[in-house]
Symmetry: D2
Subunit: 393 residues, 4 copies
C-alpha cells in the first residue's frame, strides 16, 4: 500500500486491553472477518463521508510495559473479549503494531527534565509518521486515569509551562506530557480518559499555534452513555428527578486504577457532569466505582432513579448495564482516530466540540443529551464534505 | 369566568382512574396547589406558546358507569395516586365535572341503530359546548382498550359507513363511534388508547370534511416511553440488538382489560411498532402483559435487552420501570387537550403527526425516537405562534 | 385489665419511626383492626406457645426529642408506613404510651457522672414497671446506631467499669449506659441496632449477676435478611461465590445517621458477618450504605452476586429489595419483647443465642443461615412450654 | 481399571448439551483438571459417604441424533459452557462415551409395537452393563421435555399397560418407555425433566417388582432453585406474598422445546408446585417461559415478588438470575447418578423422596423448602453408611 493515504493511530497505553482490542478489531473488521458492529463511523448514517478506511490505519504507540500484543490478545480471547478464531488471522498485523511501540514515560525512571522526555516522545511519533508516510497521525490516550489537576500558574501560560518543563521536576502529569508531545509533533490528540491531558489552557494555546485539533474527555461507554440517553426523557416529559444513585462494579486494570481515590475523583467528576448538565441542577445521589477484580474485563452498573410524576407521585426506574469494557471502548478509538484525522485534514484547530457525542465531559460543548450530540456530529461530518469546516458549535 | 376563552375537555371513560386524576390534577395545578410536574406543556420549553391555561379547562364526558368522581378520587387517594390533602380543595371542581358526565354507549343496552346513538352523543357534546361557551372542545378517549379492527369495505368509505350505521347492527366499535360523534360535532379527537377510534379511513375523510384535527394512538407512559429513549442509543452507537424481551405487570382496570386477549393484541401491536421503527427491522423477543390485580394502580415493566458490541461480544441492558398508571397518563391528557385545541385554532385539519411524541403508534409520523419527536413538537408549537400552521411533518 | 399479666416494653428511642410504628401496630393488631402480618410470633408455627398477648403489652421509654407520638404517627401515615384509617382507632393507646416516655440520656446535657444518670434511668424504668404492675419489662434499643467501641480495660471488668461510671467523663456510649440501667433494673435487654449496647463483657457479667437475659445485635430487616436466605443456597449447591457487592439507599433518620462514617462502620461490620459466617471465608465485594434523604421511610438494596458453576462457568444473581424500614422493624420489636419476656419467665439469664434468627450479628450463635436459625428458635420456644429452659445452643 | 467397582451412567438424550457437559465434566473433575464446583456430592458435607468416585463412572446412552460428542463439546466450548483448554484432555474419554451411544426411540421410525422397542432398549442397557461389568447402572433422562400425560386406565395397571405395549400404537410417551426399559433392566431411573417418565403408577409397581429405586422430577437449576430458597424466608418472617410473577428467557434446544405449548405446560406445572407447597396456598402471578434463540446456552429469569409487611405496607423483591443451563444441570446429573446407585446398593426400591433437594416436583416428598430438603438428603446419605436404608421420609 502506498503511503500518504494511510492514517496513523498512536496510542498511549499501547499494550493495554483497549489498545489491543482496537488493533485486533481494526485488522479483523478491515479484512472483512467480522461485522463493524459498534463502529459508529461505519454505520449507514456515515455513508458519503470520506473517512480513512479501517484497513489503512497503522498502529503504534507508547507504553511502560512490555507484554507482546499477541500475548495480550490471547488473554483477551480467554476472557471472551476477542473471538479466539480471529487470533491467527490478525497475528501479523498485531506483530506489525507491536514493533511500533516505544517505551513510554515512566516518572520513576525519569532522570532528566520533562522537556527532554518530551523531545524523545515527539521524536518517536515523528519517526513513526515518516516510516509509514501517513497523511496524518492521531495520538489517543487510553492509559490509566490520573487524578484531577490542581490549579497552577504554569498551566495557564505556555511560555511559563515550557520554562518549567526545562527545569528538573515533574510539572506535568503523564497524560499532559503526552498531549504536549503530540501537539508539538503536529498530531491531533484525543483524551479518551478523564486524565488532564490536553485540558490545560497552555496546551490549548499550543494546539492552536501548531494548528492541530484535539478532542475529549472521557469516552462514555456504559453507565454514563445510558444516563445521557435516559435523562433527556425525564426532562422532555417534565418528570422531576429526586435522586439518581449508581454503583459501578469493574475489574481489570481499570477497576484497580479507579480503586485509587485520586483517579476515582477524576472519573466521578466527569461522570456527574452530564446529569447536572441535562437537568440544569445538581441531583441527589452518589455514584460508586468499586474494584471487583473477579469481574475481569467486564463491568456492571446499576442505577436507581427516583422520580416524581403528576401530583408528586413517586416512581422509580432502575437499570443494570453489563458490558465488556474494552469491547465498548475500542470501536470508539477507531471512530475518534478517523474523525480527528478528518478534522485536521479539513483545517480544524483547537477543540472539537462536535465530537461531544463520544464523551462524558465534552470539550467546548454544553449539550450532554446523546441524540442532539449525535445530530451535531452527523451534521458536522457531512458538512465537511461540502467544504464546511465548521468552527465549533 | 366569561366563556369563549374556555376550552372543553370531553373524556370518553370520564369516571375512570385516568379521567379522575386528570380532573383533580387540572384543578389542583390550576389553583397552584401543586407543581405542574409531568405536564409537558407547562415546562420552560413551552414558554411563549399560547395554550389554554389549565384553570380554564372545563371537563365533561361519557361513561357507562355511575360512580361519582369525588368517590373515585377518594379511592385513588387511598391508592397513593392523589395526595389526600387535595381532596377537599378540588371537591367543587370535581362535582362540576361530575354533573357534565352523560351516559356512554353501551353496546348491550343498544336497541336502535348506531346512527341514533351517534346523534345522542353528538347532542351531548354540543350542549356541553354551548352551556360553557367553550372556544373549542377536544374529545379524548381514555376508556378501556378494544381489539384491533378487521378490514372491511365500510371502513374505507364514509358513505358506505354511514349507510351501515343507519341499519341495525354494530358496524363500529365504541371507540370509533365516539370518534365519529366527536368529529361530527366539530371537535378535535384524541385516541389515547390503542383502540381503533379515529384510525379508520372513512373517519379521516370525515375529519377533513368537518375541518377538525385528530391525534393518536396509544399514549406512551411507561415501558414504551423508555424503549423510545433507549433504542436510539443503541442505533446511534451501532450496537446490534439481538433480542428485546419485556414483561408488564399491571393491575387496576387496565390490567383486567388487557387480560382479554383481543385488547392485549391491540396493545402488543402498538407496543412493538416503535422498536421495529427505530431499528428498521423486527427484533427477536416477546412483550408480555400480565394482569396482576394486587398491583392496583401501579405497573411494573422489566425489559431485557441482549446486544452485541465490537467483534460480536454479547452484552446486556435490563431496566425495571415502576410507575403509577393514572399519574403517568393524566398530565398527557391535559397536554393533548391543549395542543389539539391550539391546532384547531390554527386551522389544522386531519391527523396531527407533530404530536407523535406522545404516542406509541403516532398517526402520520415515521419517527419513533423520543427526542427527535420532541424537537418536532417544539418546533411546530412555536411555529404556530409565528403563523405557521405546519401541514404535517 | 389486672396487672401482673401485662408485659412492659420500654423503648430507647421511644419517639422514633420504629417505636411509633411498634406502638401503633401493637394497638391495631391487638384490637384486631389489621392482620398480624410480619409478626413472626403470631404465625401458626407459634401456636401452643404461651407468649404475652399483643394487647397486654404496655409501652414506655426514653427519648431525647419531644414530638408527641400521635404527631409522629400522622407523619408516618403521610409517608405510607401506617394506614391513615388506623390513626383515630389507636389514638388513645398512643397517648397512653406518650405519657410514659421520659427524657433520655443526652451526653451534651450531662453535668454529673454517668452513674448518676444510670440511677435516674433505672428509676424511670422501675417506676413504670410498678405503675403498670407488669409481670416483666423488656428494654429494647431502637435509637440511632453508634460507632463500634474501642477495646478498653474497663469494658472487661464490671468493678472497674462501675468505678469509671462514678467519675466524671463518659466511659460508656449511650446504648451501653441504657443496657447497664436495664440490666440493673432487672429487665431483659435487646440490642436492636449494631450499637455496642449489652455487647460489653462487663455487662454480660452484670446480666448474669442480676439473672436477666439479653439478645442482639442488629435486627436483619432487609438486604441481610435476604443474604442469609440466599447464601445457604449457594453453599448447599456447592456453587462458588466470587464476589458479593451491595448498595443500600435509605433516607429517614436511619439514612442520616448512617451517613456518619462511625455508625456506618458498625452497620457494615454487622452486615458483612453473616456472609463470611455462612461461606466460611471472606468474600470479595463492598457493601455501600448511602443516605438519600428523598427516599424518606423507604429503603432499596441492590445486590450483585457473581458465582461460578460447574467447570468454572461464571454466572450472576442480582436482587433488588424495596422495603419500608419501620414496617420491617416494628413487628420484630414485638416478637423480641414477647420472646425475651418469656425467656426471663423461664429463668434464662445472659445471652439468648436462640433468638439469632432476628439478628445480623447474633450473640452466642455461629449459625447465620436463616432457616436453621428459625428451626433453633421454634424448637427452643416450644421446648420452654415443656419446661426446658434450653441453656444456649 | 477392574470392573464391578464401576458405576454406569446411561443417559437418555446422550448427545445433548447436558449429557455432553456431564461427560466432559466427569472426565475433567475426575482427572483433577478442574475443581468439583457445583458437584453437591463432592462438597465437605458429604465427606465420609461412600459414593462412586467420579473417575469410575462409565457413560453411555440413547439418542436420536448422531452428532459425535467431541463435536458437541467443541460447540459448547465456543458458547463458553466448557473451557476450551479441557477439550484435548477429555477427548479420549468422550470418544469412549461416544461409542456407547445407541439409537434412541424415535416414534416416527417405529414400525413395531412399543414392547419390541422396549426389548431393544433393555438389551442396549444390559449389554453396556455387561461390557463394563458395572456394579450398578443408573438411567437418567436428560432429553427434551414432553407434555403432561392424560389420565388413562392402562397407566394405573401394569398388566394392562404391558398388553397395550404389545399391540400396535404408542401407549407410552418416550420418557416413560425409557423408564419402563430401565426398570425392566434392573437399573435405577431418574426423571431429570418434567416429562412423565417413571411418574406413572404402573411403572411404580414395576420398580418395586424389580426392586429398583427411582427419583425425580424436573431438576431445579435456576429460577425454581432461587424460589425454594426465598419463599421460606417470607414464610418464616410471616410476610404475606401478594403476587409472584416470573419470566424465563432461554435459548438452545431447551428454549425451542419449551416454545411448544405442551412441553411448556409440563414445565409450568412443575415450576408452580414449590411455591404453593411452601406457602400452603396458590399465589397470584404467572410464570412465562420464552424461547429466545439468541440466548444460546444461557438463560435469564426475572422474578417480581410483591409482598405485604406489617400493617399491610406493600413492598417488593425482584431478582434476576443469569445462568448457563447445561453447566447448572450437569453436576446434578453426576450427583444423582452416584446417589441413586448408592440407594440401590443399600437395597432401596421405589421412589426416593430423600433426593427431593434436586427437584421441582419431588416424588414422595411434601417439603419444598431448599434447606430442609438439604438436611433430609444429608441425614439420609450419612445414615446409609450406618446401615440405615431409610425407607422414605
Amino acid at each position: 500500500m502506498s503511503g500518504d493515504s494511510r492514517t496513523g493511530v498512536w496510542l498511549i497505553g499501547a499494550r493495554g486491553s483497549v489498545a489491543t482490542t482496537t488493533a485486533v478489531g481494526a485488522a479483523a473488521v478491515g479484512a472483512g472477518l467480522v461485522d463493524p458492529t459498534a463502529c459508529v463511523t461505519e454505520s449507514a448514517d456515515f455513508s458519503g463521508t470520506t473517512l480513512a478506511p479501517l484497513n489503512e490505519l497503522v498502529f503504534g504507540g507508547h507504553d511502560v510495559v512490555g507484554t507482546p500484543l499477541p500475548k495480550r490478545a490471547e488473554e483477551l480471547a480467554r476472557s471472551g473479549v476477542i473471538p479466539p478464531r480471529l487470533l491467527d488471522a490478525v497475528h501479523d498485523r498485531l506483530m506489525d503494531a507491536d514493533t511500533e511501540i516505544r517505551a513510554g514515560y515512566d516518572a520513576d525512571d525519569e532522570i532528566d527534565c520533562q522537556a527532554a522526555t518530551a523531545e524523545r516522545l515527539v521524536d518517536d511519533i515523528v519517526r513513526f509518521r515518516e516510516r509509514h508516510r501517513t497523511a496524518r497521525t492521531v495520538v489517543i490516550n487510553v492509559a490509566s486515569s490520573e487524578p484531577p489537576l490542581d490549579k497552577h500558574r504554569q498551566y495557564a501560560d505556555l511560555e511559563e509551562l515550557e520554562h518549567a518543563l526545562a527545569r528538573p521536576g515533574r510539572p506535568l502529569p503523564p497524560s499532559s506530557l503526552y498531549a504536549y508531545a503530540a501537539l508539538r509533533a503536529g498530531c491531533g490528540y484525543v483524551d479518551f480518559t478523564p486524565s488532564p491531558g490536553a485540558r490545560v489552557p497552555a496546551l490549548d494555546v499550543l494546539a492552536r499555534a501548531h494548528r492541530v485539533p484535539y478532542a475529549g474527555s472521557d469516552a462514555k461507554t456504559g453507565e454514563t452513555l445510558v444516563k445521557t440517553a435516559l435523562a433527556p426523557m425525564f426532562a422532555a416529559r417534565a418528570l422531576h428527578i429526586r435522586s439518581w444513585s449508581g454503583t459501578n462494579l469493574l475489574g481489570g486494570g481499570d477497576g484497580a486504577t479507579l480503586a485509587d481515590s485520586g483517579a476515582r475523583r477524576s472519573k466521578s467528576l466527569s461522570k456527574d457532569r452530564p446529569l447536572a448538565g441535562i437537568l440544569g441542577r445538581p441531583v441527589e445521589g452518589k455514584t460508586h466505582i468499586d474494584n471487583v477484580p473477579s469481574m475481569g474485563e467486564w463491568k456492571t452498573a446499576w442505577d436507581h432513579i427516583q422520580f416524581e410524576g403528576f401530583l408528586g407521585v413517586p416512581m422509580t426506574l432502575q437499570f443494570t448495564w453489563q458490558g465488556c469494557d474494552s469491547a465498548l471502548a475500542a470501536p470508539l478509538v477507531l471512530d475518534l482516530a478517523r474523525l480527528v484525522a478528518r478534522a485536521q485534514e479539513a483545517g480544524r484547530t483547537g477543540p472539537l466540540p462536535e465530537l461531544g457525542f463520544f464523551f462524558k465531559d465534552p470539550v467546548g460543548l454544553n449539550e450532554h443529551r446523546l441524540l442532539p450530540q449525535y445530530e451535531v456530529l452527523l451534521s458536522w461530518v457531512h458538512g465537511l464534505n461540502e467544504g464546511v469546516a465548521g468552527e465549533g458549535v
